[in-house]
């Protein structure tokens, strides 16, 4: 009887909400100390605190109030959310039909683009102008690339940082900033590193993909994880080629010089922002065209059922390698922008945690959903930049992982398809909820039968 009580959905949701709020209380509470190991824990609930600046009370009161408010919202949304979203006609919707709202999306994208162009002038502040490049644009570029691999083709890639590193190191090599001489013995401007970097990461994608993409699911994830580590270890240890663990500090700013047109990027972040924004738009267009093309269909088919796709004449290996290479291209681009904007690079920037951060952006935004990934990446990265720039009292940079982790868990429970789910994922999740016949992840990762 007790068991069935806890299995009731509202009770389960209450427990989840209480758990999340407990974690939030704990991470916002006072730190522990060596003498009193439990003081952080007890203080988190017993200390006095301000309730949204309205009145002061014990933290546990805030805790209970927050939990109940959150639970109320969740319950309300579960019960009436569907009706609100569909304008109150959900009961009459009939069998699920395929629908698309493309004109709305195009309008929305254009509005975002205009906002993106105006943004550096709106946030007329040195930190945010540089954060728009280093925190936001670069990560958006990386996230939409990884989304091709993970979201479109359903391949779990944990070594995505490798392509970013290859892009950055190619920039250093082409501009003559590495111990190893530049190609043809002639250093180029960082701008011309872009084609080199893109070609190199695509080649790296094919080299990694061709032998490993016969693997599926977890096995592929492990191999890609290894690949990411190998690249970092190479960068660290090949002193004569990469400069070892100190990397290089001499990467020049890009110069665009064709005929009479000459533009030099300098220390100011805004020109880099526009360079990054331009490449984001370019890749967004390319990736969404690809998604709607024959290639995109093949990726969807492989993700949903590889054997069926194969029997219909789709070469799974070819299309998976293509996803790897195409997805890597935007990481290569991001590598060039980072390296030339920063002027320096170290192997220690290219870690496993970095790959996982990008993956989190993709998952939170909505795997396979371009708009979701862009919006998700922007939100998370802006919050991260804000927390690093103006940390609340007691906040330290690594704390972010706790917040993001809690957010990820909460999202997986209440909105597993991500912030703005892709058409396909939205279908997968609703179908799962309707039928309970298969777990949506099986669809995502491809079963191994």
């Amino acid at each position: 009887m007790i068991r069935s009580f806890f299995q009731r959905a509202p009770i389960r949701r209450l427990l989840v909400v209480v758990g999340v709020v407990a974690v939030v209380e704990l991470i916002t509470g006072p730190p522990g100390s060596n003498q009193y190991p439990t003081s952080g824990f007890t203080g988190s609930y017993s200390e006095a605190a301000s309730f949204f600046g309205l009145f002061r009370t014990q933290r546990w009161v805030v805790f209970v109030a927050l939990a109940l408010i959150a639970w109320g919202i969740v319950e309300f949304w579960t019960r009436y959310g569907a009706a609100i979203r569909s304008g109150g006609s959900s009961a009459l919707a009939g069998p699920r039909q395929v629908s698309e709202k493309r004109p709305v999306r195009v309008g929305f994208a254009l509005a975002l683009l205009v906002l993106g162009i105006l943004l550096p002038h709106i946030v007329n502040n040195a930190f945010w102008q540089s954060a728009l490049v280093t925190y936001v644009a670069i990560y958006v570029l990386l996230a939409i690339g990884l989304n091709v691999v993970v979201g479109f083709a359903g391949l779990l890639d944990l070594g995505y940082v490798a392509f970013y590193a290859i892009g950055a190191y190619t920039t250093a090599w082409v501009t003559g900033a590495l111990p190893t001489p530049p190609p043809f013995g002639h250093a180029l401007d960082a701008f011309w590193a872009i084609p080199f970097a893109v070609v190199f990461v695509v080649i790296a994608g094919v080299l990694l993909g061709a032998p490993t993409l016969r693997l599926r699911g977890d096995y592929l994830a492990i191999v890609t994880l290894g690949f990411g580590e190998i690249i970092t270890i190479f960068a660290n240890n090949l002193y004569g080629i990469t400069g070892g663990s100190t990397g290089t500090k001499q990467i020049p700013h890009p110069v665009f010089h064709v005929g009479p047109i000459k533009y030099t990027w300098g220390l100011a972040p805004v020109p880099y922002y526009y360079l990054a924004l331009g490449s984001v738009v370019l890749f967004l267009v390319v990736f969404s065209l690809l998604q709607r093309s024959r290639v995109g269909r093949a990726w969807t088919a492989i993700r949903e059922d590889e054997v069926a796709a194969e029997s219909l004449g789709i070469n799974p290996l070819k299309f998976k390698v293509m996803a790897f290479a195409v997805g890597a291209a935007s990481a290569g681009f991001a590598g060039v922008i980072t390296a030339s904007a920063d002027n320096f690079l170290f192997p220690s920037s290219f870690t496993l945690v970095f790959s996982i951060n990008i993956l989190v952006l993709v998952i939170l935004g909505g795997m396979g959903s371009i708009s979701g990934v862009v919006v998700g990446a922007i939100i998370i990265q802006v919050v991260q930049a804000y927390l690093n720039h103006t940390p609340p009292s007691g906040y330290q940079q690594p704390d972010l992982y706790i917040y993001v982790g809690a957010l990820l868990i909460t999202m997986m429970i209440f909105r597993p398809a991500g912030l703005i789910p892709s058409r396909q994922r939205r279908r997968e999740i609703t179908l799962y909820e309707e039928s309970h016949e298969g777990h949506p992840d099986e669809v995502l990762l491809g079963d191994d039968v």
């Binding site: 699920r96 395929v98 059922d305 054997v307 069926a308 029997s311 004449g313 789709i314 669809v443």
Partner: protein, 238 residues
């Protein structure tokens, strides 16, 4: 049209097919019968390129295809409806059918119409998701999808599996129509009575070997077949 001779298939140390030989002639419906684990599905996997034989040969229209890869079979004109239907659950019925024409160029509108004529229910449900279909509709969709590649040889793996008897009748009637329209059919089935009544010839697989073969009408009255695969079923059903 399709000739398999002495084909051996191994999964690691386990031999699934101990050198089987059979042939399918143009315009025929040939059925492969056998109990669970007899090697029926392995045989189909082999003649659709999903599993290469370690020895022996497979020729299709005079070409050796024993090492052709699965995704190139669609181009050859061989279409495989895999076991368990394997439709794309999150694509609509029409998107599923379009995937069937993946390797073809040019317009597919006529083929879609042709499939919708054969399976009117699919036209009704063309905007619905694959996974919202019933089992029978999914089977029709899987067959329709395979036909979109305009195959000359259609491989069907247990199309009656898990379906209500009435639906099974419909599926088998449609397989007959597909043959009448000029497509050769290789049919793997557990439902021996049904398959033998539809087929021209049949092969019975036992432990990875061909135990019996002959015209379907003869197999249907063969005492060994009746004892093992038909049991009381044939008395009741005939």
């Amino acid at each position: 049209m399709l000739e398999v001779s002495d084909a051996v298939v191994r999964y690691g140390a386990i031999t699934a097919l101990h050198g089987i030989s059979f042939e399918v002639n143009e315009g025929e419906i040939v059925t492969l019968l056998g109990a669970n684990g007899a090697g029926k599905s392995t045989t189909l996997r082999m003649v659709s390129g999903l599993q290469a034989p370690v020895s022996g040969s497979i020729t299709f229209q005079g070409r050796d295809i024993s090492h052709t890869r699965a995704h190139d079979f669609a181009k050859l004109g061989v279409s495989h409806v895999p076991e368990g239907r394997r439709i794309f659950p999150q694509m609509s019925v029409e998107e599923n059918l379009e995937m069937g024409a993946f390797r073809r160029r040019g317009s597919i509108g006529e083929d879609l119409e042709r499939i919708y004529e054969t399976f009117p229910i699919l036209k009704e449900r063309r905007k619905q998701l694959g996974s919202n279909l019933s089992g029978g509709e999914q089977q029709m969709l899987a067959i329709g999808r395979a036909l979109m590649s305009q195959p000359t040889l259609l491989l069907l793996d247990e199309p009656s599996m898990g379906l209500a008897p009435m639906i099974v009748d419909t599926i088998f009637r449609i397989i007959g129509e597909i043959r009448a329209a000029g497509t050769t059919v290789l049919l793997v089935e557990q439902n021996a009575a049904h398959a033998l009544r539809l087929a021209d010839r049949g092969y019975v697989l036992e432990n990875g070997r061909i135990a019996l073969s002959g015209p379907a009408a003869e197999l249907l009255v063969d005492p060994r077949v009746r004892a093992v695969y038909l049991g009381e079923d044939v008395e009741a059903g005939a």
